[in-house]
Structures are given as structure tokens and as C-alpha cells.
């Protein structure tokens, strides 16, 4: 018989608000894994924990701001990025991360996403992409594959989804990568890399949403989508950006990797000599 291993401490104790547990995420949800990676990157970063700030918008991923035991701002629908921009510009010593979902970041916050990338503002955006609006019960969103079923696309999604990597690359982000919740090590590494990378960094992490997305699209268990990642993910960073679209329902590769890593100068407010 397997003996349970009892430990006094969890490695993330200091970084998670234990008094906010249990979290609201469903069984099989991938967001917690992504948060775990972010927390590990904070520990590994060597940057004073007091200087880390997390900002999110609305939605299941947005709840991360409420669970992390660092300075955290849970803002309104889509406005996490501009709020984060204000924090960073007012206090450049802060290490500012936006943690939110695909719906929040790419639909209602889509304009802020592309403009923050265009300005190449020195923040990190972690996007947990679960292909739907999960918290509100599984409506279609900007990443829902064409034809996929949701509570607002009961005849199949009539729209084409964003290829977020291509979008962010075109908008001007300095760093763009994509992984899934099975790529824990790579996500930690890339978040850590992004902390220290000047300019705008965008890390997309595909995450199962069995209740909101999976159940309507033949991925009823979280593990189904996880297994699918393992079968289909292809690490080919040289793949043309416009070939990086995702459709979980098709038998097509899911390209993962670091797709953009460039050195364009990060946004700086103009500073003149201060007259005395």
C-alpha cells in the first residue's frame, strides 16, 4: 500500500494566499498549472518578491491575481494590460506581469494587447488560452476554432480565431512563445526569461477547459486535452508565423516553442535634462 507523503510546507507557501484556497477552478482545468509555473519563475528569478506585481482582467485566469501572495490587481474586463502599463511606467523598478485569459486579453482587451506590444512596453503577459470564455459557462471567444461548439455557437463557431503568436509578432512584441500545460519546464523558463527581457513579452499557454470547452468538443476530461497536446505538439520554432493557427479538433500539429526573440528597444518615456 502506498503511504501518503506528509509534508509540513509546500514550496509555494509564501507565494499563494492560503486563506484564499480552495480556488474556483474546475477539476481538469489547466490554469493552476500555469500559475504554478509563474510562481516558480518568481522564486527562481531572484528578484525581490516585493517587486513582483501581478495584474489581471476578468475570467478564470483573472483569478490568479487573487491567489498570488504578491501585490496583485484584479481589474476590469480587458484592462489588465493598460493598468499594468501605468504601474510599470510610474515605478520602473516593479516586475509587472499580466496573467489573464485568451478572451480577456484578445477580445475585450485586444486593442490594449496589440498597442502595448507595438510600444514594446517592458511587461510580461502570460495568456492561458483555453479557447473559450470559461467562467461564464463556455461561450465562444476570439480563439475558439472555426466550427467549434460553445453555448453561443451551438451550430459551430462561424468565426475564424486569432493566431495569437502571429498577432503579437506582427504587433511588435520582443518575445513571443507558445507552450501547453504539459510544458511546465519550458513555461517556467520562458516566464523567467521574460522577466529579464526588456520590452514586451507574450507567453501563450494552452490550457484544458473540460467544462467550458472540452465537453462540447469531444474533450470531456482535462486529461483528454492533455493527451492531445502530447500527441500533437511539435517543437518547430522556425515554422512560418502564419502557419501557427490551432484547431484542436483537426488532426494537425500544434506548434510550440519560442517564435520571436528580438532586441527592439523597449518603450521609454521621453526624459529631457531636468532644469534646476
Amino acid at each position: 500500500m502506498v503511504q501518503p507523503l506528509l509534508v509540513e510546507e509546500h514550496p509555494l507557501d509564501g507565494l499563494i494566499r492560503a486563506d484564499r484556497m480552495p480556488h474556483i477552478w474546475c477539476p481538469g482545468c489547466g490554469i493552476g498549472i500555469v500559475m504554478r509555473c509563474y510562481a516558480q519563475a518568481i522564486i527562481n528569478s531572484g528578484i525581490d518578491i516585493e517587486k513582483h506585481v501581478v495584474v489581471s482582467g476578468i475570467g478564470c485566469s483573472g483569478r490568479v491575481a487573487g491567489y498570488m501572495n504578491i501585490d496583485s490587481y484584479h481589474t476590469t474586463h480587458g484592462r489588465g494590460i493598460p493598468f499594468a502599463v501605468g504601474l510599470k511606467l510610474a515605478n520602473p523598478e516593479l516586475c509587472v506581469t499580466v496573467f489573464s485569459g485568451d478572451g480577456d486579453l484578445a477580445a475585450i482587451g485586444g486593442n490594449h494587447l496589440i498597442h502595448a506590444a507595438r510600444r514594446n512596453i517592458d511587461i510580461t503577459v502570460i495568456c492561458a488560452n483555453n479557447f473559450n470564455y470559461g467562467m461564464t459557462g463556455g461561450q465562444m471567444g476570439p480563439t475558439t476554432p472555426y466550427g467549434a461548439l460553445s453555448t453561443t455557437s451551438v451550430y459551430g463557431c462561424p468565426e475564424h480565431p486569432f493566431n495569437l503568436v502571429n498577432l503579437l509578432a506582427a504587433a511588435g512584441a520582443n518575445f513571443v512563445s507558445r507552450w501547453t500545460t504539459i510544458h511546465v519546464r519550458q513555461v517556467i523558463d520562458d516566464v523567467l526569461y521574460a522577466f529579464n527581457k526588456p520590452g514586451f513579452s507574450f507567453i501563450e499557454v494552452l490550457a484544458p477547459c473540460p467544462i467550458g470547452f472540452g465537453k462540447s468538443n469531444d474533450l470531456e476530461q482535462g486529461v483528454d486535452e492533455t493527451l492531445l497536446y502530447r500527441e500533437r505538439c511539435v517543437h518547430e520554432p522556425d515554422t512560418a508565423l502564419d502557419k501557427l493557427g490551432i484547431d484542436l479538433r483537426e488532426d494537425q500539429p500544434i506548434y510550440v516553442g519560442r517564435f520571436v526573440d528580438r532586441e527592439a528597444p523597449a518603450y521609454q518615456p521621453i526624459r529631457l535634462e531636468v532644469e534646476k
Binding site: 487573487g66 501585490d71 490587481y73 493598468f83 504601474l87 510610474a90 486593442n111
Partner: protein
């Protein structure tokens, strides 16, 4: 604050520029906005001035982003502002509500133009006053000021930052196109003559600190900033004293009541009015912003003609000075409310008095002239009500 950044002296300056210099004098070091007529000169001036003084000017992609980035900057400790006009003000309502809920201080300037919708971009209006009060969804206290001159635009910009910081609220400065664009003498005081009320800051243990616990009678919790080691949590959701979401009716009642009550409880700091010719007045004219200039002339002429008329100028339009209105109502027979809209603030006056209130209104596009206000005064004076008591 470095006093050398304050351009102490006398200037011939338009209202928008006076607002921008008022912001700098108040220690504002962050402007996030989207240019829109007739507030654009504020953005232009600060885009030139902020780089000189180590501040930030960032031109955002829209007004929703502008409002959000201002809140972020303020949460990191900066005095922060934006400036806009009607169409942008509508878009900012979302995060004005977030500012009220998170209790993050900031200044939102609305140089009003003819509205609704795109309306009259280059011409004045005063029809956003009820939107200023009720524009974001839900209940929350509001403080809004309406300057009548470039000098007062400067002074109220400073005051608005002080009120915002002191009460942890977004303060709305409702200028209008006339005041924004007119050029007059503006005197910028010495640095030590510029009032400065700081933010109430936490004391004691960082670990025990609750960012939404209002210990003091004023119901304003101390404000801690990002990066100071408090491990803060701020949310737009209903939250308890720790800032943690709490989806209960009881917590909601306590929180929202406090957001309203902290404004109601402190009228002395917040309400500002000015009165002229009240001695012996049987009629009181009420106006605010640029319209108050026409009203003042109308009242002066009416007095010269021997009519018993006085003048109340609202400098703060929210909170509304209802106590003062009720006091005036003890002694007068009628009120005249002049405003560049089709009858918004008149409802507030009517709520508090039993006497007739005659509205002088214009939809906007041109400053309300003295003549129709004078006609209204004469009409009220001649209908006999003034001699009946």
C-alpha cells in the same frame, strides 16, 4: 516635489494650459490620455512638460486604456490624471467605477463640448453633469468641480488632486469648451503657497495591514502602493477589508455604503460655492462653469435695475450643496437655474426647495448669454411671487 518645476509667475494662458500647469504644480507626474477636442491642449501641453520634469506622458490607444493606465500609475504611487471630452468620458466610465471600487485616487478632466454623441466637438456644453454623477454603474460617491475661468481651472486642478488623494477617489473636473479655450491672466503661486494634502499612508505592521479597513471617522482607509511590501490585493469585485473578494450581500452593503458615506460625511472639504448679492435677495440665480459668468452679469444688471436678486455659483457640482440651498430657501421666493443643457441640475434644486425654480436652458454649442438669464429674472420678479411674502 521639486519647486523649480512650478512656473511661479503671471501668465496670459488658456484654461486647458492652466489645468496642465495646475497638475504639474500639484505634483502630477503621470498623464495617460487620448487627445480629443476641446481638451487636446491639456495633452499637448503635458506632452511637452512631462519630459522636462521627469514625469510620464503616454498617449493611449483609447479612453478605456487611458483610465486604466492612470489607475495603475496611481496604484504605484504617482499622482496621475487624464483629460477628455464627452465621447471619451463615456468610455472612461467603466474604470471610473473601478477607481471608486478600488479607492484609487486620480483626476479625470472633462472639457465638455456639445453632446450627445460626437455632437459639437469645438463648441461648449454642460450636459455631462448627470453622467458625471451617475455615469458608471452602481452606487458610489462622486466629487466634481466646474471652473469658470482659467485661473480657477488651475486652482481646482490642484484642489482636485488633493481631494482625490485625501479621500481615495476619482475626482471629476467638469470644465467646458469656453473655459478650456479662453485666455486670461493666470497667477501661479510660489510652491509653498500651493496647498498639498497627501495620501493617508499605512502605519504599523505590513503583515497585519488591511488595505480596505477604515479605522478613522472619515471612513477613508490608508493607501499602500505596489512595491512597498504589503502583498496587496485590489479587486473590482466586492471585497472585504483585506481586499479579498466576498460575494455576500452583507459585505456588499458595508463596502458600497462606505463608498457613498465617505463623501457625504465630509462636506466641508468637498463642497465649494460662491455667492454674490444675497443681501435682501428674493430671487436666487444658480449657475456653474462658464454659464456662471453670464449669470453674474445678468444678476449685476438686474440689481442695477433694482430687482432683489442674488447669485449662487456652484464650484462643486457634486456633492450638491443641498444644505445651503435649503438655507437660502428660507428667505427667497424663487430660484432661477441657468445651465447649458436642457435641464439637469435644476432637478437637484427642485428636490430641495418648495419654491418655483425657473430653468434657463440651451442645448449647447454657444455660451448661454446674459440676456435670457436676465429675462428669466425679470419674468420671475414680475409675476408677483416676489412681493407676496
Amino acid at each position: 516635489m521639486t519647486s523649480s518645476h512650478i512656473l511661479t509667475g503671471r501668465y496670459f494662458m488658456n484654461g486647458d494650459h492652466a489645468c496642465a500647469e495646475g497638475a504639474i504644480a500639484a505634483g502630477c507626474r503621470f498623464f495617460g490620455g487620448y487627445p480629443i477636442t476641446p481638451s487636446t491642449e491639456i495633452a499637448e501641453h503635458l506632452s511637452s512638460r512631462m519630459p522636462q520634469i521627469g514625469g510620464v506622458y503616454i498617449q493611449m490607444e483609447d479612453e478605456m486604456g487611458s483610465m486604466a493606465t492612470v489607475l495603475g500609475a496611481s496604484a504605484a504611487g504617482a499622482r496621475a490624471m487624464t483629460a477628455t471630452s464627452g465621447p471619451g468620458f463615456s468610455l472612461m466610465m467603466e474604470n471610473i467605477g473601478l477607481a471608486a471600487m478600488m479607492e484609487i485616487p486620480c483626476l479625470v478632466v472633462n472639457v465638455q463640448r456639445g453632446s450627445p454623441s460626437t455632437g459639437l466637438p469645438t463648441l461648449p456644453g454642460q450636459a455631462d453633469v448627470m453622467q458625471a454623477r451617475w455615469g458608471s454603474h452602481g452606487d458610489y460617491g462622486v466629487v466634481a468641480y466646474a471652473p469658470w475661468s482659467p485661473q480657477e481651472f488651475f486652482d481646482l486642478t490642484v484642489h482636485s488632486f488633493n481631494v482625490a488623494d485625501r479621500y481615495r477617489i476619482p475626482v471629476l473636473l467638469l470644465a467646458d469648451e469656453v473655459v478650456g479655450h479662453m485666455v486670461e491672466r493666470v497667477e501661479i503661486p510660489e510652491a509653498d503657497k500651493i496647498p498639498h494634502w497627501g495620501r493617508k499612508r499605512p502605519i504599523g505592521s505590513k503583515k497585519e495591514f488591511k488595505p480596505f479597513e477604515a479605522i478613522d471617522d472619515d471612513l477613508v482607509p490608508p493607501l499602500a502602493h505596489a512595491g512597498e511590501g504589503y502583498r496587496l490585493h485590489f479587486t473590482g469585485l466586492t471585497h472585504d477589508e483585506r481586499g479579498y473578494p466576498d460575494m455576500s450581500a452583507d459585505t456588499h452593503q458595508v463596502l458600497v455604503s462606505r463608498l457613498v458615506e465617505k463623501i457625504n460625511r465630509n462636506p466641508k472639504d468637498l463642497i465649494r460655492t460662491e455667492t454674490f448679492h444675497l443681501e435682501g435677495a428674493r430671487i436666487v440665480v444658480i449657475a456653474f462653469g462658464s454659464t456662471a459668468r453670464s449669470a453674474r452679469r445678468a444678476v449685476r444688471v438686474a440689481r442695477e435695475r433694482g430687482l432683489p436678486v442674488g447669485f449662487l455659483r456652484l464650484i462643486s457640482i457634486w456633492p450638491f450643496p443641498e444644505q445651503l440651498i435649503r438655507e437660502l430657501a428660507q428667505d427667497v421666493d424663487a430660484f432661477v437655474m441657468a445651465e447649458m443643457n436642457l435641464g439637469q441640475m435644476i432637478r437637484e434644486v427642485e428636490r430641495h426647495v418648495e419654491q418655483p425654480v425657473l430653468g434657463v436652458n440651451h442645448a449647447g454649442g454657444a455660451m448661454l448669454a446674459p440676456e435670457p438669464i436676465l429675462e428669466a429674472i425679470e419674468k420671475v420678479a414680475n409675476n408677483g411671487s416676489t412681493s407676496s411674502r
